[in-house]
Structure formats: C-alpha cells, structure tokens
C-alpha cells in the first residue's frame, strides 16, 4: 500500500541512479472506479516544479523512492491536463462529501495501490489513523500497537473514489467516473442531510449544481430553521422559481419564516396562481388544518361522467400534489360528496359521478387543531381529508404525508412533556413553560418575603424566616421529584411485557448516581442562593441538606416503585402512572419537611448552646 502523505518529499531517481528531485504531487485521471495515476509532479533543483507522464517514465515506486525508466537527459516534461486531479493539491486536507455515509469529512490521507504495473487510487482515508500517519508514521504504528494491546484495533476509514464528491475545486467539467455518485444525483432527502452539515457558502455551491426540481425537493426536506436561510441566499428569481415548484403548503411554511420584505418580493415574482394559493395559506394559524393543508384539491361537478373526470385528471394532475380522492362540489364549490380514486377507476366510463359518490364523508374546518386532524386520519385510515369552511365550501385537503409530519412532531413534544425528560432544549423549555413557571414565581416571591422579614428582625433568624424559606423551597423540591418520578415510571407507557427490562440492582445503581448528582446539584444551588439572599450560612445549610437528601431518597424510592409496577403491569394488572407519580411527590414533600424540621431543631440547639457558651 502506498500513502500520499508518506510519498511527499521522497526522492525521484532516474535510470542512472541520480536523484533529480523530490515528489511534490501525483495526478490521477478520473473516469474509472479506481482511477489510474497519470502524472508525477516533482520539484527539481531550485524548487522548480516539473511534470512527467507516469506511464512513459516511471519504472517503479516503493516506500522510499520513485525510480524512472530513463536517464535524466531523455525526459520530456508535460503539463497538467484539464481533466487531471492533483491528489495533494486538490484532495489532501480538503473537505469532501462522503456520498455513501452522507457526511462531510476531511481527507487525512489518500491510499494508492499497485496492481498489474499500474498505480491506482483506492480512496480517501478520513479516520484517525490517517491523521496519525500525517503527524508521524511512527506515531501511527505505536498507537496501532497500543490499541492491539488493549484488544482494540486502529481501523482505517477509507471512502472509495466513487463515493467522493469534491466541494472545493469546481470539477463539474471533469467526468469523475462512470459509477460516480455526484451529490446532486442523490435522493433529495439525502442531499438535505448533507446540506445541513455545510457552511452557507458551500451550500450555495451545491445549489448551483441542483436543478430547480431537485432544489425544491431538497429544501422541503431541510430543517425548518435552515429553509429560510437557504432561500435567502439564492437570487430572488431562482428562489421564486423554486417556491413555485414546491407544494404550496411547504412554500407557505418557508415564506412565513422569511422577513416581510423578502417574502413580499418573492410572492410578487411567483406565478399569479401559486402566489395566490400561498397567500391564502399564510392566513391560517400555523398549527391548524389550514396551516398544513394544500389548496390543490381536485373538485368536479356531480353531472360529469367518469370518463370526463378521468380526462380532466389527466390534464391537471401535473400540478396537484397528491390525488387520493375526487371531491364533488356544487356550483358554489360546496362539498357534496367524495369519490375515492379506486371507485373512479373501477367504474365504467359512462357512469355519472353522482351515482358513485359517497355522501358519507369526513371533513374538517380550517381552524381545527392539526393534532386532531392527524388523529382523525389515523383512526379512520384516511389518505386525504377535505378542509371546508363554515358554509361547506372546499378550501383544500390535508394529505397523509402532512399528517405523518404532525404526528411525529407532536409525539416528540408529548414524550418530552410526559416524561419531563426532554430530548432537546425546546422540550425542556416547553415543559418549563407549561408546568414549571408557577414554581419559580412562587420561590421568588417567598424569598423576597423571607429576605424582608429577616432584615426586619435582624440578628438571629426568626421563626417566620424558617417558615418562608421552607415554603419557598417546597415547590422546587416538588417539581424536581415530579420529574424524577415520571421519568422512572415512563417505562410503564411502553408496551407491557416488553423484553429487556433491566434488573432492579442495576437500575438502583444507575439511578442512585442520578439521584446523588441531582441531589448534590440542587443542594448546592439552594446553598448558594440562600447564602446570597439571607447572608446566613446556618439557614442555608439547614435547607440545602434536606433538599439533597429528599431528592436522593425519592429517586431511589421511585426506582423501586417503578420496578414493582412494571412487574405488576407485565402480569396484566393496570397501574396508574399518575397515581404513582403523585404518591412519590407526596413522599418527597414529607421527607423534605421532616428533614428540615430535624435540621432546624439541631440548628436551634446549636445556636442556643453557642449563646450560653
């Protein structure tokens, strides 16, 4: 195996055995799965760069040198061809896209291999091993040995040439290889994954290679926050063209995130029909049926025949997102019935639509909650659901893909809320907003009162201070333990009898660590806050310790209770998670108050002793 990092700077020796320079770069000619090396670049005397044809002049390459077939005088130098790629200059240390792993990585080394007299590029090394080799080959062998000693192995992470796409040098005129997977040939969802890993400038470069259809699909698949950013970087003309292609509901989502001026410019550049649809959708609340619907519902009159409707479908279906059902409307676009696509196809061409439409159908209003709409579609197995206004006029339809998005989004939010154990910042914020703010407000007010009372009384802490501090901290303890309890019992939500429940001892150990961590953190926080607010270390300690202890004990209790409850539910008995959580929170409150009472007693005793002494 030959690595480019090892070859750089090695001598180039001619047939007479004379060193004529040092290796500077190696050029390949792309076009094959494993491209052939075509040229050798080397630095002659005085650092003058030269280029040689590999096929004509190179006799042999090994780890220490390149040997040429002819003596120096017979060499004819060449130039870099437009379709040649320089390994060190164009690839090494550069960012590339791994079109198989859908990742943006940096090339640490390039691996070449000699077969049947030809040197070929195998691929790019992007792992730690290549990095170590670049630092020092000795470091690489040393680390490899160490890894072996500990039973691991320092594996190579090679990306084959045909899965590499270059970001930096614009090689679009170079046909990289027959089987080469270029970025813009990937599925739009995969392109979106990669786009999310790139800096804005690089993203813009990738977009130059995508046609408008691909760009529209890729943008639809991007994270919400990025969509508007990406669109803002495009020229207004291109952005509006792309928006026209997108489904109106997706386009409306993105335009809603843009600054007003930009949105207005784009809407005016868009086609009149598309812009009107988007504007209409922008009028609905974001989380309503109107916000997720597409206005492109196919509506027909009941007087038509099946054949006429099918003809109409053929001419208009290009523009429609999805066709699942045909909506039959009166003159005023008032919904009268629904014809599923299947019924349309199996009916004879002369049959009247009025005869096959079903007048029993589901529909929703534009202001209905999106979660309710999604649930309805899931419950009745609907592929599409018409959205109608108060007078029954068809506004649009919600399709199954939009419903799936909604359910995914709501499930994530619900899980975060139900378990108090959020996956991201947003979940934590949500749960705080919905349930936690009252605790904070309570604590702040009680603290303020406690601080005032304390200042008024002066000297030793008054009993009133104790009560206020205890009252201030209680909600915080309750909130924390509620989270702990619902987290511990969240296993109950999963399907009963699920295999892979861990043993009690292991869970106790794991949760003990969590409890100690949380308890100490809460205790320290209480200590710090009280120390500042009341300038009294005794009061601070008296409340910090009970807070920590009650949280730790509740965590352990929650683990045991949850374990028992899961066993019970495995055997088929129903256990209410809410009841368990409530019980645990009560336990925490009792523990906290008891500890605080004992602590206050001890502190009072110590103070009394000090005064006597």
């Amino acid at each position: 195996m030959i690595y480019i990092t090892r070859m750089m700077g090695k001598p180039v020796v001619d047939a007479a055995g004379e060193t004529i320079g040092t290796i500077n770069d190696i050029a390949i000619s792309p076009g094959e799965v494993f491209p052939r090396v075509t040229s050798l670049a080397f630095l002659g005397p005085g650092k003058t760069p030269f280029m040689l044809s590999w096929r004509k002049y190179v006799a042999d390459i090994d780890e220490d040198r390149v040997t040429l077939q002819v003596p120096r005088a017979e060499l004819r130098f060449s130039y870099l061809q437009p379709d040649e790629v320089l390994l060190s200059h164009d690839l090494l240390n550069k960012q590339i896209v791994d079109t198989q792993g859908m990742k943006v990585v940096r090339v640490n080394d390039l691996k070449l291999s000699e077969s049947r007299g030809q040197l070929r590029l195998l691929g790019a090394e992007v792992g730690v091993r290549g990095l170590l080799r670049g630092l020092s080959p000795r470091l690489e062998t040393l680390t490899a040995r160490l890894a072996k000693l500990f039973g691991g192995s320092l594996t190579e992470n090679i990306i084959a040439w045909n899965y590499i796409d270059l970001l930096d040098r614009d090689l679009s005129h170079v046909k990289l290889s027959v089987t080469h997977k270029r970025l813009h040939e990937l599925h739009p969802a995969d392109v979106a994954d990669i786009l999310e890993q790139l800096a804005p400038n690089q993203r813009a470069k990738v977009f130059e290679h995508l046609d408008n259809d691909q760009a529209a699909e890729a943008i639809s698949e991007l994270d919400d926050e990025l969509q508007a950013d990406v669109l803002e970087d495009l020229t207004n003309e291109r952005a509006s063209d792309i928006l026209e292609i997108m489904d109106p509901d997706d386009a409306a989502d993105i335009i809603g995130d843009l600054p007003y001026d930009k949105a207005e410019i784009l809407l005016r550049l868009m086609g009149v029909r598309e812009a009107r649809q988007v504007r209409k959708l922008l009028g609905y609340r974001e989380n309503s049926a109107g916000g997720i619907m597409t206005p492109e519902a196919i509506t027909v009159s009941a007087q038509l025949s099946v054949q006429e409707v099918i003809d109409r479908l053929r001419s208009t279906v290009e523009k429609a997102e999805n066709v699942y059902s045909i909506y039959v409307v009166s003159d005023g676009r008032v919904l009268q019935g629904v014809v599923p696509l299947r019924d349309l196809i199996v009916s004879g061409p002369e049959v009247r639509i009025a005869d096959i439409m079903s007048t029993e159908y589901f529909s929703v209003g534009p202001d209905d909650d999106q979660e309710a709409v999604a649930e309805m579609m899931s419950k009745y197995d609907l592929l599409a659901l018409p959205v109608v206004d108060e007078s029954g006029r068809v506004l649009g339809m919600v399709t199954v893909d939009d419903a799936l998005d909604v359910m995914e989004q709501e499930a994530a939010e619900d899980l975060a809320l139900a378990t108090g154990y959020s996956q991201g910042a947003q979940g934590a914020w949500l749960s705080l907003r919905r349930t936690g703010s009252w605790a904070l407000a309570w604590a702040v007010i009680a603290f303020a009162i406690a601080a005032l009372v304390r200042n008024g009384a002066g000297g030793t802490p008054s009993p009133l201070t104790w009560v206020f501090v205890a009252a201030a901290l209680l909600p915080i303890v309750l909130r924390l333990t509620e989270d702990i309890a619902s987290r511990a019992t969240s296993g109950l939500i999963e399907a009963p009898g699920e295999s892979g429940r861990t043993g009690l001892a292991r869970r106790l150990v794991a949760d003990a660590a969590l409890g100690v961590g949380l308890g100490v953190a809460a205790g320290l926080a209480v200590l710090a806050v009280l120390d500042v607010a009341l300038k009294d270390p005794t009061v601070a300690a008296v409340f910090a310790v009970p807070t920590a202890l009650s949280i730790l004990l509740t965590t352990l209790a929650a683990t045991v209770v949850a374990y028992v409850a899961e066993r019970l539910s495995d055997t088929g008995r129903r256990v209410s998670q809410t009841a368990l959580t409530a019980g645990l929170v009560l336990l925490a409150a009792a523990l906290y108050l008891a500890f605080a009472y004992i602590g206050a007693g001890m502190a009072a005793g110590a103070l009394a002793k000090m005064t006597i002494g």
Binding site: N93, N108, P200
Partner: protein, 426 residues
C-alpha cells in the same frame, strides 16, 4: 438607461434604505466578540495596568487599537472570501503537523482564558459573599448546561447587556477628574520600565486585547452568516466598530484606575477584585462593588460559554470531526469532549486552595499574549496567499501593521522571558 433597465426586470425593489440602517443590520459578531473580549482577564489586566503604572501603559493601548482593527479585519475578510473558518484554512494551507501545533496553541490559550473566566465568576460571587467552592462548581454546571442545551443563544443578549456595565468606566473616568492633558500626553508618548512586572503586564495587555480566540470567533461568525466578499465591504465596519469600541472602554478603565488607585501607594497592587471595584467609587459611591460584581459575573459567564465552543468548533473543523451543540455524544464525541474539558479544567484549577484570582486572570492573558504572534503568522501567510485570497490579499499598510504587531508581541515575550531567566529586576 441601465438603471432604467434594471428596474424593469426587477419591478419590485424594497424601499431603498439608508446606509445607517444597513450598518445596524450587519452589526453583530464584531461587537459581540469585542464586548466579550473585555472579559474578566481584560478587566483585571486593564485595572492592574492603571493601578500599578498609572497612565504609563496608555500608549500601548493606542497602538494596539490599530493592531486589533487590522487583525480582525483580516480574519473577517478571510471568512468572507473563502467561506471557511480560520482553522480549516490553516489545515488546508499548511497540512496536518502545523495544524496540530496551531490547535494546541489555541486550546492552551482558550483553556487558560477559561480559567480566567471562572476566576472572574469566583471573584464576582465572593463580592456577593458566596464562597468560590460553591460558585465555581455551580458556575461550571450552569455554563455547561447553557452550552449543551443550546439555550446560550437566549441568554447571550442578557449577559451582553449586563456586561455593558463596564461602559460606566467611561463616565467614571470623567467623574474622577483626571488631568486630561497628562492623559493625552501619556497616550502618545511611549514609555518603558525595565522590570519584569512591566513586561509581563505588557504581554498580558497584548494577549487580552488581540486575544487569539477572538480571531477564530469573528471569522467563523462571518462564515456562519454566509457573508460574501461584496457584503463584507459593509460588514467590516461592524467588526471595526466593535474593535474600536472595546479598546475605547479598555483605555477608560486604565484612565479610571490610574486616577483613583495609582496615587495611593497602598492601592497600587490589585490582589483582590474588591480593590479593582473601588475604582468605580467616584461615580456610584457605595454601590461600586455591586455594580462591578454584576458586570464581572456577566462578562465572565458570557466568555466562559463562548471560549469552549470556539475551541471545539475550530479543532473539529481543522480535523474534520463532527461538531455542533445539537449533536449527541455518540455523534460528536470529540467536540463535546473538548468543550467539557475546557469548562471543567477551567473550573477545577480555580478550586485549588489559596489561588490568587486576580493573579490567575492576568497570568492567563500572559499565555494568550505569548501564543498570539505565532497564530498571527499563520494568518499572515494565508491572507497573503493569492491562491486562497485572490485579489483580496493584504495591502502594504495592513502587512506593515500586522508584522509590526507580531514583531512587537514576540519582542515583549522574549524580553520578559530573558529578564525572568536572568533574574533582572527581581
């Protein structure tokens, strides 16, 4: 005629806005970086410079304003032209080995500064009467959570607002009634004292004013915003304004401490934050301590969040590892490892009993000052490389100022090390 044609093809133009509005719109990274640059290390170094040597070091601040402006402009321009961060450019221009060196220097400088930030947190909380053994661990956990939970963006504005407390130094300086003629004279008259204390403070002054991490931060901000070289013509004024504003505040900190603390030999050597806080007395009287503590706490927490992130993003960018605060540990282990390391090393060092917080803050800036010239050399090579920068390479004036900065920083370090080695001046 051409203008007419342009309006025809694009009929809907937004109302033409004044340049002032556009200027305000691009303001961001520069001002943030510069305000966060006046962190605990900066405050303590500037206070000490004023208290110990009066107005004597002011001339350096004037010169360094030019250095800072030019270095930040270079960093931002590199970002706008290439769309890549500083670390990525170092890797692509120099290869693995020099990159490792540069990243180790950045890590050292960031870790040292992070120590200073936790020293700042400890000092500020001690002014409130909270023991550092409580304040620092809690601070470390809060900072870590702010970073991991991604809520830093929400808190950032609040912290920035609070750290603007230090702008009161400008008013305080006037309230302290210095002899402005003397100040003006000192600003333009170089003066040097040959003792190690002076030179170590001079290195710290350089390190805190033109801190290495700020260049990485500015550049990656420009890249993240997707600023093109065309927009840079406008966006650079944000960076320049931020740099000038930060140094303006720094100069007034030195003037204030020099006027209030330097005349009395007993307050010439600041060893505790409370002594530095006294400098604000002429303006706010008894509330000086509270005001100083609030500003110090906010500035420290702000910088303590930014520093580990800068280190993590830069190092991962250089070596091609996955990075991002929204990644799970299994996805981006090294990124999360780096910022956790920087935060907790910073916090742990402060917990060593008997550590003098002010001394730690200044020492960290000395380390910054020693690393700075070498990272600037990397920057100079890249910014003058036509293959990378095209026509946007440095002009002669920029090169002259930048190389003078590098030479000056190296000279200061060499003299400091020489004096320490030879034991001159005790």
């Amino acid at each position: 005629m051409t203008a007419r044609a342009a309006t025809d093809t694009q009929p809907i133009q937004p109302k033409p806005r004044s340049r002032v509005w556009l200027l305000l719109a691009v303001i961001g990274p520069g001002v943030i970086a510069a305000s966060a640059g006046n962190d605990s290390g900066g405050i303590s170094t500037y206070s000490q410079a004023g208290a110990k040597y009066g107005y004597e070091m002011l001339w350096m601040m004037l010169l360094m304003t030019f250095s800072l402006v030019i270095v930040q402009e270079m960093a931002g321009r590199m970002g706008a032209v290439t769309g890549k961060g500083f670390a990525a450019l170092i890797r692509e221009r120099f290869g693995v080995r020099p990159t490792l060196l540069a990243m180790l220097m950045l890590l050292a400088s960031n870790a040292a500064t992070s120590v200073a930030e936790f020293a700042g947190i400890a000092a500020a909380m001690e002014l409130f009467g909270v023991s550092r053994y409580i304040a620092v661990p809690v601070g470390a956990i809060v900072v870590w959570l702010l970073v991991v939970r991604g809520s830093f963006r929400n808190v950032e504005k609040v912290l920035l607002g609070l750290s603007l407390v230090f702008i009161t130094y400008i008013i305080t300086a006037f309230a302290a009634k210095p002899d402005w003629l003397v100040v003006g004279h000192a600003l333009v008259t170089p003066s040097v004292r040959f003792d190690p204390g002076f030179f170590s403070l001079a290195v710290a002054l350089t390190g805190t004013t033109v801190a290495p991490w700020m260049q990485f931060f500015v550049q990656s901000n420009i890249v993240d915003k997707g600023t093109s070289i065309k927009e840079w013509a406008l966006a650079k004024w944000d960076v320049i304004a931020g740099a000038v504003a930060a140094n303006f505040v720094a100069i007034f900190i030195i003037v204030t401490t020099a006027t209030v603390l330097h005349p009395n030999p007993a307050t010439r050597n600041i060893t505790e934050a409370s002594q530095a806080a006294v400098a604000l007395t002429p303006l706010v009287g008894q509330y000086a301590t509270v005001l100083f503590a609030i500003g110090l706490l906010a500035a420290s927490v702000l910088a303590a969040c930014v520093l580990p992130l800068t280190a993590g993003y830069s190092i991962c960018e250089a070596f091609g590892w996955e990075a991002g605060v929204d990644r799970k540990f299994s996805e981006a282990p090294i990124f999360i490892g780096i910022y956790t390391f920087v935060i907790f090393v910073g916090a742990a060092l402060i917990l060593i009993p008997g550590v003098n917080l002010i001394a730690v803050m200044i020492l960290s800036q000395v380390i910054n000052g020693m690393m700075l010239p070498f990272l600037l050399i990397f920057m100079m090579v890249i910014v003058n490389d036509r293959r990378i920068m095209g026509t946007h390479v440095n002009g002669r004036f920029f090169n002259a100022v930048a190389w003078l900065t590098i030479a000056g920083a190296i000279a200061l370090t060499v003299i400091l090390l020489g004096m320490t080695a030879l034991g001159i001046g005790g």
